[in-house]
Symmetry: D2
Subunit: 149 residues, 4 copies
Amino acid sequence: MTGAIDAPCHETAIRVYYEDTDTGGIVYYANYLKYAERARSELLRDLGFENSAILAQKGVAIAVRRVTADYMKPARLDDLLTVATRVRAVHGATVEMEQVVRCDGADLVRMAVTLACINTVGRPVRLPPEVRGALIEFAGDAAGTGTDG
Amino acid sequence: MTGAIDAPCHETAIRVYYEDTDTGGIVYYANYLKYAERARSELLRDLGFENSAILAQKGVAIAVRRVTADYMKPARLDDLLTVATRVRAVHGATVEMEQVVRCDGADLVRMAVTLACINTVGRPVRLPPEVRGALIEFAGDAAGTGTDG
Amino acid sequence: MTGAIDAPCHETAIRVYYEDTDTGGIVYYANYLKYAERARSELLRDLGFENSAILAQKGVAIAVRRVTADYMKPARLDDLLTVATRVRAVHGATVEMEQVVRCDGADLVRMAVTLACINTVGRPVRLPPEVRGALIEFAGDAAGTGTDG
Amino acid sequence: MTGAIDAPCHETAIRVYYEDTDTGGIVYYANYLKYAERARSELLRDLGFENSAILAQKGVAIAVRRVTADYMKPARLDDLLTVATRVRAVHGATVEMEQVVRCDGADLVRMAVTLACINTVGRPVRLPPEVRGALIEFAGDAAGTGTDG
């Protein structure tokens, strides 16, 4: 179910501002999760979907069920980062992505993210079929289409 | 309409964490507005109200219409701050507060805040009467009870 | 000293993400100050300066001494905003800017910002001459060149 | 090296404010990492250390090298949360902690965190001996004292 190393990759550029840094002189560790969420939103947008419309029309939100982040090198003020996002697996109710924050060719933070769909009272529901289909199409051969999740 | 200098004062303690600071070694300027909002929420809570209940039961949110912040001295990591909040005027649809962030007896940031009530589509509405009444009672002689807003 | 209405205007595009919103369904009020700071950083960058280099090479940071924000209409998830920045006055140690956050042609938040230069221990110092010169040049006739500040 | 289930537990109370929530009506996922960092700072403080002093006196910061977060139930505006922190292992250069965010007795988010010490240019260095000793003492039998990192 793990995608090939050359799975299609979506890239989002992120500039580091004062708001992102802390007194240690580096980007505060929780903020990379913000960057990752921006990148996932941009991937969805490029596929034709917006979180706000999904929430308003379907009554569901795509939420993070699990994230693992490995911090290898710090980003600093004014750095121009790239978040590379790959869809690793699409199940019935969950999606697995791999996201890497890079700067000048070096990997700074590597994240594995499991997304799940929840309704307005927080209960897990299936992914909207058109979103699920678009993610499978984007992932290509890299994503399985399990029936679990 | 401006309250007396000795208007009743509500105090909230705030600890500065890494998340609040920036690479300049000081608390990022927007974060003092977070501190001020926490302090206003604690004032409401001490008066018997919670934002979540007001939003759920009345369908309204108390939003900021205007804020002025004067930054005099910076706060730093691990500082233990106090936010002193005074209600300066209570109108029909707006409330004026003065909030000062202090550390070790020194004023760091002084804020003047005008609050207004909005409904779920963002339109201005009157303050819930019980909230308005509690704020007037808290403010004592310091707050006028104008009918404008 | 107030600039003409047609002072040169710098524009920065900002997308609203989940991180920016709150449970009221709108952008949290302190986050507009983040947007404004990003826009000021982009103005500086377009003029050839970066905050990180100014901090590293000159030992000074450009900090906010005073901000006034008027909240007129809320922004929401996925909105594409523009921050329009004008330099209103350049003094010896301070700079006055006007910043407006817009969406679909409507003004959402109007800010007046006074910036000051501080050194690494927080003391006010004069603006680096090349930064000051570039801001005056950008502002054109709109900015005075007072010797106070 | 994994601590016993009844390893000593440090608890920090966290109130949810507007700033923490998003338009989905729940706490934004990255903000639980802020809560966890506040709790680790409070654990250190209770052991007699402050991040600011460690940074100023030793020139080192305790940074997150790896975090895994499992999101089980969402927190909402005005919730009063508890972050329970256990030290699972203390090595020469890294510390492993388990942190659980709870509300009304239910686990909302479970985190496994690996901390490492870095100097001001971001290079890994050994933990200050007194901090390491205090963490081992706090952890009691739960923490190994490996010499690796």
